[in-house]
Symmetry: C2
Subunit: 203 residues, 2 copies
């Protein structure tokens, strides 16, 4: 998605084409959250008043730069995984390995939102950690990052739900239940990070 | 922002440049939410099973197409408003109308997140309304839309907070308090819309 103009990507998102959809939107939300954390760090680093937090700000910024690029890659992977699911369902009903091929595709499709959620969780973690030492003039952008990460977590959660419903392997279903529970905890954590950033604004 | 490649926009968002920041991210979140509602409508319209909801789906889709384009315009307005605030603060301290110019710029800067929140609220409203009649195969994308609109509302809220703190006009401060309260109500409404969409997925 990196090379595509924003307007044309949004146009594709709005269309009836199967991808991009909610999974790609989630990936872009993670990338925005990561970019906002980087911005807060960049506007804190080098200012004598926040010198004691410099090591943390540099660590958070550098990690978020990696997560931002990874997240945009997840949008393409989501489209590929979704296409594979559709192709498997379109196999002739009499084909022996059709059910297995469908299951493999569903497992692959559940993997992308899981990784999107993991990236969102890590960005959220860094947003939480930078709030106490960040330049208060831009801490509102850390709050916005928590909100964007939360949106990504919500989209990842429903995409995991949707895939889980058709997966027959009991142990994988149980694993996805654990992932869903962990996302629910992260949603509460996102609200706490947002509230902490607002409090730091001194309002 | 429409013509800019996603990767380079994210790069700018992450940088220490004053814009784009949280306000532009909020605008893109609204645009994504609107696009996801359009997508759900497009995948519901024309299917005999949902024929009775066709009028609502067409109305929601067409309105969201307008809101999507408006939202991307708000990102540019946010940058302009922010630049005006910085320019006003940089006026010479001895200039007679400096305080008035700063106040005018702050009022302008508070207007953009207010309109972003209003657009997010309207998208959310349409997401809520389409959930009961939408194609259940894509109702997860309506849930993702509610999450993206929520992220936009959170970012708009902290941007209004940040501007309100420096505005001296009491009646405008009171007005912004009302806007903030209305956004808090919309955040709760976004959670309800997300839960309703998940419930509709039958999981």
């Amino acid at each position: 998605m990196n090379e595509q103009p924003i307007g044309s990507w949004l146009e594709e998102l709005s269309s009836s084409a199967p991808a991009p959809g909610g999974g790609a939107a989630a990936a872009l939300e993670v990338a925005m959250a990561a970019a906002l954390v980087e911005m807060v760090c960049n506007l804190t680093i080098g200012k004598p008043a926040f010198a004691e937090h410099e090591a943390l700000m540099t660590e958070a910024r550098d990690r978020c730069a990696v997560l931002r690029v990874q997240a945009t890659g997840l949008a393409a992977e989501d489209a590929d995984a979704f296409t594979a699911v559709i192709a498997a369902y379109r196999l002739p009903k009499e084909q022996d390995d059709r059910d297995g091929r469908i299951q493999d595709a569903l497992v692959g499709a559940a993997e992308v939102p899981r990784r999107t959620a993991a990236a969102a969780s890590e960005v959220l973690d860094l947003a939480e950690r930078i709030v106490p030492g960040a330049n208060p003039n831009v801490v509102s952008d850390a709050a916005a990052a928590a909100g964007a990460a939360r949106g990504a977590l919500q989209a990842a959660l429903v995409n995991i739900d949707a895939n889980r419903a058709s997966i027959t392997d009991e142990s994988l279903r149980a694993e996805l239940d654990d992932v869903a529970e962990s996302i629910e905890r992260d949603l509460a954590r996102a609200d706490a990070a947002f509230a902490a950033a607002r409090a730091r604004m001194g309002l």
